[in-house]
Amino acid sequence: MTTNTSPLLSVQDLKVAYGGIHAVKGINLEINKGELVALIGANGAGKTTTLKTLVGMVKPAAGSINFDGKDTARMAPYDFVSQGLVLVPEGRGIFPRLTVEENLQMGAYYRNDKADIAHDLARVYDLFPRLKERMKQLAGTLSGGEQQMVAIGRALMSRPKLLLLDEPSMGLAPIIVQKIFEIIRMIAAEGVTMLLIEQNAKLALETANRGYVMESGLITVADDSKTLLANPAIQSAYLGE
């Protein structure tokens, strides 16, 4: 179905109402295979709602979402992961009283290919040696950075075609943030397509190929990361320069 010319994800005129509030007021988004795209903006701009809608946690009020050749706008939330869409939620959303390994296995819940799952588990442990050391520990006892690794590792266990990351740096010490972004770059280098929401817009744009800027439910600017980083308006509004 997919060719290199048609985007992996195509969102058109998406509107989302959240308890009477129009959080997303008609946005267009496109993500091509292999890209790392950043979605930046202030608190309450509608970024998290957009991501939640992409994985079915919130139903759109209007508009279309096409992922990998399928209309996913009204699919059941538990069907998204098997289509290749997975979210690393804000605040990480780990299962605190499952072990690290059980958390990772939950990422492969929809899969039945035991040998491949074992292979992917080994790959995640290669990526995060720290998690291998702590595989039998309850995930709720880990540090924030380690929990973020669990959340990312768990998402990778589903073999995503598109990985959505919601604020992976939230609440982490700067040195840990650097580490998490190093990992994000490594995953991107392996060819995983990603859409990243980040408060730290500078870091996000330095990591991403392209960026969208969201403001009060609308996308106001879309461009290459380099161009966005050089844009004086973006610099003063989001990059603190």
Binding site: V55, G93, F95, R97, E102, S158
Partner: protein
């Protein structure tokens, strides 16, 4: 001394039954933070269906050994209770999934009353004797007496609990159940059909409840349309005592409560100089409930792992 041992044995038997019922409460609570007060009625209906089924077989002059009749009765009662548990969740609780927590709680109490009334319509208001189909043998250990039925109750309870723990702790399905209990939104993101998991939780708890109901009816030789209320409340106490939401806690709470109650009943008369007799034994279960809620609301094993930000 021999009395003490006897009370401990009796406590262990009724405690095993409480534990099985408490597991049903605690599983549902763990996943939905809901006290399913209709669970006691599922226990009662399990007992009633078994008795009816055995009586029908006896009425049709089916010449089978007692144990086989009992097994057939159970095999009928378990699916009935499971279907009832499934139906209750579907009809009464699912529409209230996003309602304030008081709404499903009141619904649960309402359902409990409705089911009691339906049971009196079907089975009447009188005690139903458990058909005398089992050949009861007694064994003596250290001056105390235990029947073959009581041994069977304890052994069956252990087997069922072991199977449940294996399912929850070791299987992929159990992992999904635990994940759903801990973070339902993310479990759904991982591809878990959480509605199915919730239904399954009710169905499994109901199956355990049906078995427990038959155990009580067989052990006390009777069942009653209102029996679910008291035994349900006691098993709920057991679940709270162990730490609601915690499976191991439900088992521990059930056994501890059974033993406290049995010892209490045995010595109540001596302790109060004959003022209160053993018929006041229910005091103990609810005194335990009050004490736990006052001094350790998280229960014996209810300590949660700290969730770090």
């Amino acid at each position: 001394m021999d009395h003490l041992l006897q009370h401990l044995i009796n406590g262990l038997v009724i405690g095993s039954v409480y534990a099985l019922i408490a597991l049903g409460y605690t599983m549902v609570y763990g996943i939905m933070q809901l006290i399913n007060f209709a669970h006691g009625e599922i226990v009662m209906i399990g007992a009633m269906v078994t008795i009816t089924c055995i009586n029908m077989l006896l009425g049709a002059n089916v010449a089978l050994p007692g144990i086989l009749l009992l097994t057939i009765g159970l095999a009928m009662a378990i699916p009935v209770s499971m279907a009832l548990g499934y139906g209750i969740e579907r009809v009464a609780y699912r529409p209230l999934r996003n309602a304030p927590r008081l709404a499903p709680l009141i619904t649960a109490i309402g359902l409990s009353i409705v089911l009691q009334q339906v049971a009196t319509l079907i089975w009447g208001r009188n005690y139903r004797p458990f058909p005398p189909i089992l050949e009861i043998k007694t064994f003596e250990i250290g001056g105390a007496v235990i029947t073959n039925l009581q041994v069977a109750i304890i052994v069956l309870a252990i087997v069922i609990m072991a199977a449940l723990f294996f399912l929850i702790e070791r299987s992929k399905l159990g992992r999904a159940m635990r994940a759903t209990a801990q973070n339902i939104d993310v479990a759904r993101l991982m591809g878990v059909n959480t509605n199915t998991i919730i239904s399954l939780t009710f169905v499994i708890g109901s199956a355990l409840g049906a078995v427990a109901g038959v155990m009580v009816a067989a052990n006390y030789d009777q069942a009653h349309a209102y029996m679910g209320f008291l035994i349900g409340l006691k098993a709920f106490t057991a679940a709270v005592l162990g730490g609601i939401g915690n499976l191991g806690g439900a088992v521990l709470g059930g056994l501890v409560l059974g033993i406290i109650e049995s010892l209490g009943a045995g010595y109540l008369s001596d302790l109060t100089g004959g003022v209160l007799t053993s018929s006041y034994k229910d005091i103990f279960a609810f005194a335990v409930l009050i004490l736990v809620l006052l001094f350790r609301p998280s229960g014996l094993l209810g300590e949660r792992v700290a969730e770090r930000a």
